[in-house]
């Protein structure tokens, strides 16, 4: 039985979610059909929408179901850009940060390459904190060129939280929409879409005990965006395609559970995480806790290790049955240096020598203890292998 410390990658499907999912998979009907079979499935879908709306604190009509986080982020970024440029051709600047997930970076860079977008990368300090003063100054001078602001709520690798309310307070006077990738935050810390001032927010089910292939983009009622998928006009015309009621239902159940347990889990996981961090520090002076002083997620512990490569550590921990991550999983399972750490001004060596442990609902003290007892052997081997790559 392996020790799983990679909840930021994905989480176990919860029993309640599984039961609900399987039950609804057996119901016949297309939610767009007018007959009673269709209406029954539509009812389940709308229940899910209402429930998820409650969990993220938004209006039910603001929930656009998608097939996952990456799709949600793509819809927000491309949809907002095309909408804004369509309204005013000089609004080509997307403001973001290089610490974003690839689900954000790649569509933005695609728009830059193919569609005339200009990206303003906000400065990020060594502790992963985005320079919002810079944003404020920039908006005062150049807001008329800005299409939208795109900043994740919390970073998936380092767990550093960005003050989204401060961002929207700056953009509100100039009417600039803000999208936030909230995939690493939703269900872990309190989120209220309605009071966030956001125009759009991406969430995903499998990070909180739901199934893979379930996501949503929360789009405020006053926000317009161009669809990237055209067809039957489902989901306010923003996401055509037969709506997946069983998946939506499963997502809603997972969200409801996560949010209802949030306060308690937050404290529990934070304590476990602190134990893990202290344990690592006790084992070796070569470990540096990333962004220790920054506002950050309760279930995330990210370290860089002097003289080790992350993939050696990962391999040696895996050999002992402990699953950790070296950051975001990249194409083909290739773990290059973390782009997040590089964006934080860290050296390539630091960016190659990091591992991330993330905890979740099923994490226990025993998991942390198992990790801490596996770490010395892994460190020993990783140090011998050095930075051979």
């Amino acid at each position: 039985m392996s020790v799983y410390l990679d909840y930021a990658a994905t989480t176990p499907l919860r029993k309640e979610v599984f039961d609900c999912y399987v039950e609804h998979l057996q119901t016949l009907g297309n939610p767009s059909s007018v007959h009673s079979s269709g209406q029954l499935v539509r009812q389940a879908l709308e229940e899910a929408r209402e429930s998820l709306a409650k969990s993220v604190d938004c209006n039910r009509s603001e929930v656009i179901f998608t097939a996952g986080g990456t799709e949600s982020v793509n819809l927000a970024i491309k949809g907002l850009f095309w909408q804004r440029v369509g309204e005013d051709s000089k609004r080509k600047v997307i403001i973001s940060a290089a610490t974003e997930h690839h689900a954000s970076l790649d569509p933005m860079e695609w728009l830059e390459k193919h569609d005339g977008a200009e990206i303003l990368w906000l400065p990020v300090d060594r502790d992963g904190v985005i320079d919002l003063d810079f944003l404020e100054d920039y908006l005062q001078e150049h807001h008329e060129n800005v299409a939208f602001v795109n900043l994740m709520w919390a970073n998936n690798e380092t767990g550093v939280i960005t003050d989204i309310n401060r961002v929207t307070a700056m953009t509100k006077p100039c009417g600039i929409p803000v999208h936030s990738d909230s995939i690493a935050t939703f269900g872990h810390i309190p989120i209220s879409f309605s009071s966030s001032g956001l125009s759009a927010m991406s969430v995903s089910a499998h990070k909180i005990g739901g199934p893979v292939g379930a996501g949503a983009l929360i789009v405020s009622r006053s926000t317009k965006l161009v669809s990237i998928i055209h067809g039957g006009g489902q989901e306010r015309g923003m996401r055509s395609g037969t709506m997946n009621a069983p998946v939506a239902k499963a997502f809603a159940v997972a969200a409801e559970l996560a949010v209802s347990e949030l306060a308690e889990e937050h404290l529990r996981l934070e304590a476990l995480r602190d134990k893990l961090v202290q344990g690592v520090k006790n084992i070796t002076p070569l470990a540096h806790h990333t962004a220790a002083k920054s506002p950050r997620m309760p279930h995330n512990a990210h370290f860089t290790f002097d003289g080790c490569s992350g993939d050696s550590l990962l391999f040696l921990l895996d050999q002992q049955g402990v699953c950790v991550s070296v950051g975001s999983a990249c194409q083909a399972g290739v773990n290059g240096p973390s782009h997040v750490l590089l964006a934080m001004g860290r050296t390539e060596r630091e960016a190659n020598g990091c591992i991330r442990m993330t905890l979740g609902k099923q994490s226990t003290e025993a998991d942390v203890d198992a990790f801490l007892s596996a770490l010395p052997k892994a460190l020993d081997g990783a140090l011998r292998a050095g930075l051979t790559t």
């Binding site: 993939d311 391999f315 050999q319 399972g333 290739v334 081997g381 790559t389």
Partner: protein, 382 residues
């Protein structure tokens, strides 16, 4: 033994890993990521570093039932292989990047890392055999499948590296047998085409790739006496021994075809001449290594065979170490050899030594080269 199986995503390394498992070893599959920007799909038969290749390797590892990881060697590969390749061409030499990769990545960086992580050996799908002599010394030999023999590109291995290497395909008589075995094992790479080109040149056009990095400067095409015969659009477009594409307009006085004899990077001149001027009778390499046990009394000339390209013919020769350099006197001339190429010395089927050629002595008087050749010795795979 704990064995690290280097898996490229091709059929050979997959079968090699499977055989290592069957031999009772504890095997972990590892795919070397050699580029930070891997292509998504192969084009044609090319490459061993695309995402598709990595997925193929992973799928093979799953079928064999071994753990699988991808390790990033891209930085080291760029420094040790790609930059070396460019620098060598820039210096007017003809490098063999597959040899450099074996020398500096697979049996150096990967092996060192593997040993540090608790492994005993690196296993690859190379067609070559490791045998033990009467005294217990390890020897590298040609593969039983002579048509696929890859002992040439492994000539850089030292005794210590041989001690930690495993080539389970060396005793198989043909690649067809390997493919059949892969199919029998349910490996979907059984019918995957071989890779023939340089893995880091995705379009397969070495000249264009080099021109992008080194630039193209128009220069003169001259004969052996220095008479200007025409103009070229960039030296990288020429290979020693090349006959076609010279576009010289008028034929030679004797009416016989002309060949590229050398490319002088200092003067940016391409030298052409008759075929007999390509003939080389002596090769000298200042740096050499013994593959396994060294030759006794190497200062005295001894009979051996030399091979100068991956799938080239071997030629009988006399070899000795003279003033610290390896001198190879060919019994009969060999054609189109460029400095930078590797000469591998064989005793029967055994690989004895290798040296990078620094200069050649022509069979034709006054046409020996000390540098100045641009071409490609790459006619084979890794």
């Amino acid at each position: 033994m704990k064995v690290l199986a280097a898996m490229s995503g091709g059929v050979d390394s997959a079968v090699a890993a499977a055989r290592a498992v069957e031999a009772g070893h504890e095997v972990v599959g590892v795919h070397l990521a050699l580029s930070r920007m891997p292509g998504t799909l192969r084009t044609g038969s090319r490459g061993c570093c695309t995402i598709e290749d990595s997925m193929d390797a992973q799928r093979a590892a799953n079928v064999i039932g071994i753990p699988y990881y991808v390790w990033d060697f891209s930085e080291r590969f760029k420094l040790e292989v790609v930059d070396d390749f460019i620098n060598e061409y820039q210096a007017g030499r003809t490098p063999n990047p597959c040899m450099r990769c074996n020398e500096r990545i697979k049996f150096a960086a990967l092996l060192e890392k593997g040993l540090a992580l608790g492994f005993d050996a690196v296993c690859t799908g190379h067609y070559a055999s490791i045998l033990t002599d009467d005294e217990g010394n390890l020897e590298l030999h040609r593969s039983m499948a002579l048509a696929k023999d890859q002992s040439y590109v492994l000539g850089v291995l030292t005794a210590e590296q041989l001690n930690h290497s495993m080539f389970p395909l060396g005793h198989t008589a043909s690649k067809d047998l390997i493919r059949a075995e892969a199919a029998e094992r349910g490996l979907s790479v059984a019918a995957k085409p071989d890779s023939y080109d340089i893995c880091f040149i995705p379009e397969g056009d070495t000249q264009d790739w080099l021109a992008d990095r080194l630039g193209n400067t128009t220069g003169e095409i001259v004969d052996m006496q220095g008479t200007v015969l025409g103009e070229h659009k960039g030296a990288h477009g020429f290979t020693v021994g090349q006959r076609k594409g010279l576009q010289l307009g008028k034929p030679a006085a004797d009416g016989k075809p002309r060949y590229v004899l050398a490319v002088d990077v200092n003067t940016n001149k391409v030298v052409v001449g008759p075929q007999q001027a390509l003939a080389v009778v002596e090769l000298v390499g200042n740096k050499f290594t013994w593959c396994g046990k060294a030759q006794e009394n190497p200062e005295e000339f001894f009979a051996a065979h030399v091979q100068v390209r991956a799938h080239g013919e071997q030629v009988a020769c006399q070899v000795a170490v003279v003033d610290g350099a390896m001198v190879i006197r060919c019994d009969e001339p060999i054609y189109g050899v460029a400095p930078g190429q590797t000469a591998v010395i064989y005793l029967g089927t055994r690989v004895l030594a290798q040296t990078t050629i620094d200069h050649t002595v022509s069979a034709v008087d006054s046409f020996s080269t000390a540098s100045a050749s641009i071409g490609s010795s790459l006619d084979g795979d890794v």
